[in-house]
Symmetry: C2
Subunit: 351 residues, 2 copies
């Protein structure tokens, strides 16, 4: 029995398109993959047949033949919980999703979630993800929120997997592309805004010192203060950790150490919320007694009391740029790139 290629159910195959267009499988394949070596007549016939049959290439078959998967992974080295609660991650994921949508790549979302049943540090998840990525299931990976001691990027670089990291990695020795926001410039902007308003005794609630973004923001703050010839005394620098609670504690300390503070740069909006609460509890009005600038322009910023002046990171653009950099690598570009995207001050009522 000769199988009749035109009378099959299910999705159409190359063979059926070829039969309908009156050309060979190879020619159809060339048209579909965009090869230039096809005559106009053949191309038109194939295109018509593709449209008529609603042909969509079978990804699995293509992948098997090309040893490429058409899929890139977005790996977030965090428990699922944080990924979506924090507007930073959410924005990145959004930008990545949008950019991937513009290509014909697929996005696989991998979170090295801390398993609730007895795997607090996510080692299992990390191993699973590592195996998956190194096992040839994706053409490249986007890595987000790396911790300084994470072995994953090194492992993937060694496996030869194209990689782009979101956020400048700690330790510059890793040969890998990355995209970051201008945290330092943003903090400078925030500080200069306070200075321009005539604030003179400006303090900072920093992020955690073991995170690059936190350190960069602190550096920007110090730079701006130094440039204005007002280097900050240590008692006006309180170490926080990006969370609301951390912001509360750090602001309380700052207020105790430097009661005359009249402006404060806080390293995250969440922490700024905590700071606002402490200030209100201490009877200081914002912005009259103390001006407050946050960082991130997260959802909560606009609905804070008073609405937060804050530094916006181009999170979506960062996500999109990461995808673009990865695509360039997939197309054979071997140059490493490091991009720093500009941040922007959003002025509201708090400063």
């Amino acid at each position: 029995m000769t199988p009749d290629p035109s009378a099959r159910s299910g999705p159409a195959t190359l063979e059926q398109v070829a039969a309908l267009a009156g050309v060979s499988r190879s020619t159809v394949s060339r048209v579909v993959t965009g090869s230039p070596r096809v005559s106009d007549a053949a191309r038109r016939a194939v295109e018509a047949a593709v449209a008529e049959l609603g042909y969509v290439p079978n990804r699995a078959a293509r992948s098997l033949a090309t040893r490429r998967t058409g899929t890139i992974a977005l790996v977030v080295a965090e428990p699922e919980t944080r990924v979506f609660d924090e507007p930073f991650f959410a924005g990145i994921v959004r930008g990545v999703g949008a950019a991937v949508g513009r290509t014909d790549l697929q996005l696989a979302l991998l979170m090295t979630g801390s398993d609730p049943d007895g795997d607090p540090d996510g080692a299992h998840g990390r191993a699973r993800v590592g195996g998956y990525l190194a096992g040839g299931h994706v053409d490249g990976a986007l890595l987000l929120s790396l911790h300084a001691d994470d072995p994953l990027p090194r492992r993937l670089v060694d496996a030869g997997l194209p990689l782009v990291i979101g956020g400048r990695p700690d330790g510059a020795d890793l040969a890998v592309s990355w995209v970051d926001a201008d945290n330092r410039g943003g903090a400078r902007l925030a500080t200069e805004h306070l200075l321009a308003q005539g604030r003179r005794r400006i303090g900072i609630v920093t992020g955690p010192p073991d995170m690059v973004a936190g350190r960069d923001r602190l550096a920007g703050f110090r730079e701006a203060m130094a440039a204005a010839d007002r280097p900050t005394p240590p008692e006006r620098e309180a170490v926080g950790d990006f969370t609301r609670d951390g912001g509360e504690r750090a602001m309380a300390r700052l207020l105790a150490q430097a009661p005359d503070v009249d402006g404060v740069v806080v390293a995250s909006d969440l922490a700024a919320l905590g700071a606002l609460q402490v200030l209100a509890g201490a009877g200081r009005t914002v912005p009259d007694d103390v001006a407050v600038v946050g960082f991130d322009d997260s959802l909560v910023a606009a609905s804070a009391q008073p609405p937060l002046t804050t530094v916006r990171q181009p999170v979506e653009a960062m996500g999109a740029r990461m995808v673009e950099l990865l695509c360039a690598q997939l197309q054979g570009e071997h140059m490493l790139r490091h991009e720093v995207l500009p941040t922007e001050l959003v002025v509201r009522a708090s400063a």
Copy 2:
């Protein structure tokens, strides 16, 4: 030249495992896929070889042979922007991600984003996604945030794609499984809480009437009021739309129509924020003059002034349950299931 299967580079194949274990390809395949018809000796030999070579099955090849992809899609029929800004979506995605991580399925995230360049209603994105899903690239799909007129679910049902919808679909005629939160019960809870506090002239700011969740919440409110023998007069029901602005406008109207209102159930936290602002502007204190209950327990609820009493939806559990229902379908269960997960009142300062 006979190719030596043990001397290949790149990921190991079945054939290599078979050679090392001294059995046939078929036997290795049986072990890997967990078929029971393998002797213990063979199984042990294969497992040792798999471990030694670090063998991971090639997904593309398996998919090609089985006509299954091992991938499920999470489709959010919304622009990317809303997906991550709204805690509801974020929570669902989180739950889905976690549940998928527990299986050996892959998650493909598809957003029918409204293309910024001239495709305001996302028709292009929707068509793209529809083709992708119907084209056999995924084994099943999770659909979120459907609008009443969305042709996608019907198209997918017709194509025979296993489907689970998040949120009770509008129009009960679609033969498809879904998971929803108990919106009605949650609104009842909120209303009963106000009643228990001695509030007697309770109003509501509803969601948009064309969304099922909004209608269900209104129904729950009315039920609780009727059960307490206090059916609500129309002037204490103001139509809103889940957004902050909508909440503001509706609250202003409600206050104008029923100035003596002493409690209000608001159909979303965002809208409740708007309501709080209007109440403050009108010189009413919350909760003393007017008690306010929101809905969603979103991030902004805790940081509102005063912190919002609100109804929490089990968003993560919903996401996880959607995955479980879909998995059951993939394993051949044909029963449609409709599950309503319980909501919970979170008492804070506003009521």
